[in-house]
Subunit: 320 residues, 2 copies
């Protein structure tokens, strides 16, 4: 364990705070409001087109912080390693963590490593917890959606879920589908420059866009109406979903966000988002309506309206 | 998953902050210095005399925060659950988490749950990360031990390791040995009332007292000399260790601390500690010496001196 830490983790993740080597890390923070979140990543397989469990573990927690409008600053990383995990795999993953942390401008300041016997875990699980600073006057929360607000989606849906599934099942499509796994904090910071009239933000991960919209509708006690035609889905993802019997609305994303914003700022917000790397395909996909409370309705391509329900059971286990 | 959260976790862990149900939890903090730590618990078996993985997960992280002199306030809890874990076991564990959180005056403000297939984890792993407030003028760190400082131990060593091992191996001793698993933040707060001249604090968990003293000696670039006679070990633990071939100095504790304090406050500190529930057997066990740097020396009962080395390999895997 000491050798793992000294020769593998330390060189890749080294920084002044992690070097404190005390039981906790001491942090100096002057902000009034902090965001704090935790997530364990158990994705299977560890490597997939467009990412790996390391990149996922950084992006997932960075994004959860960003969804409160926070600037993510400090992360923890805790590893459960199954005996026999190839060191080279672990090194690749820790290197992904380093690269993703740099991209997201976060620092891993505290870490933990546990090794368990073969058969007691599936290769590797990573928990990341994170702290972010919430700027003054920013009050983004799932309960703040109001009738009339516009619903913005930052880009194509379904990429992560289909990329992981195709890797897991050994499926090959004509076009390789890559996970969208990405840190969204720079995108959120750009959005907050446009206006603080962002009422709710959420990243549609497990359960996909449909689940996220249902959660927001329930928390805010409003209805949400979306337009099927407006939702960006890649042809390759749509084709894969058709083949596999999935609805892209329920497939996980790891680099997308849903924003509920005041109507008067929606157009400017989308224009600004499109200048950002991870918002190039941003679009207004619907609006918040007074009711039925907790319901998500969708205008379909053929002109009808259907209810988009919460996912009853997880269609893709171990997707993150 | 939703049902687990709604019916099992929520009723036991409910609080206003956890109820926010956003991707992160928003916290208002005015302090300048924070402590932040993470730990994953993979102890086997889940239940042992004196505690379970739930109590351990709270105490472990609370104690890591307390070892910087911080007042622990907010914790995260992330569960990896193997399919087939009896719900009743999970309920008992989550209830332990609730009770230990109450005892330690901490609040779980953000949580995560992942269920993996049978065979992909060993029953249950819990990660807790935590945030604590470090009072002004407190600068406790592993590198601050100075020659002349006294080394205080808060009580009996070896209880946790032997309790877990005996449960795991089905061993029975005449007297049941219980884990010492306990939150030490109240003890540390009482110690800080006596004096801020606490230079280093550490809880001797994995690797036991010997490993902790070696870490402190290395970080502070000093020697440490301890007196074997002064180290409190229960007769039952000593007997079990002799039978099993272990040295109590290397056996894990989960409710003990080592304090390195200025010589002039050591006696008063120990007296105060003895009034605390988890410090009743506190004793001065040695002192910091100029050198050899990084070395721990022990005056043995028969009057000789021996080097107490770092543990070369983990004698008891999955002890926490």
């Amino acid at each position: 364990m000491h050798e793992l830490i000294q020769h593998l983790f330390a060189p890749l993740l080294d920084n002044e705070l992690l070097r404190q080597r005390d039981d906790s890390c001491r942090l100096e923070i002057s902000a009034q409001s902090l965001a704090f979140t935790t997530d364990t990543f158990v994705v299977k397989p560890l490597f997939f087109p467009g990412g790996d469990i390391g990149r996922l573990a950084i992006c997932g927690t960075v994004n959860d912080l960003a969804m409160l409008g926070a600037q993510p600053i400090y992360l923890s990383a805790a590893f459960v390693i199954e005996e026999g995990l190839p060191l080279e795999d672990l090194r690749r993953i820790v290197n992904s963590i380093r690269l993703a942390s740099e991209e997201a401008s976060v620092t891993i300041v505290t870490a933990d490593t546990k090794v368990v016997e073969k058969g007691s875990a599936d290769s590797l699980f990573i928990n990341t917890s994170g702290i972010g600073l919430i700027p003054r006057d920013i009050h983004i929360a799932g309960q703040n959606a109001r009738p009339g607000d516009r619903v913005i989606l930052s880009g194509y849906i379904g990429d992560h879920g289909i990329a992981v599934l195709s890797q897991r099942e050994g499926l090959r499509f004509q076009t390789e589908i890559e996970s969208d796994c990405a840190p969204l904090n720079a995108l959120v910071a750009a959005m907050l420059e446009v206006s603080s009239e962002i009422h709710a933000l959420r990243d549609p991960t497990r359960g996909g866009l449909a689940t996220t919209l249902n959660e927001l509708a329930a928390q805010s006690e409003v209805g949400i109406k979306i337009d099927e035609e407006a939702i960006p889905v890649r042809d390759s993802v749509r084709a894969a979903c058709e083949m596999l019997g999935y609805d892209p609305l329920y497939v996980a994303n790891e680099g997308k966000l849903v924003a509920v914003v005041a109507p008067q700022v929606a157009e400017t917000m989308v224009s600004r988002m499109r200048h950002e790397r991870y918002g190039a395909k941003a679009a207004i996909i619907g609006e918040v309506i007074a009711g039925p409370a907790g319901r998500v309705l969708m205008t379909t391509k053929i002109g009808g309206t259907r209810i988009v329900d919460m996912l009853a059971s997880e269609i893709l286990p171990r997707i993150c």
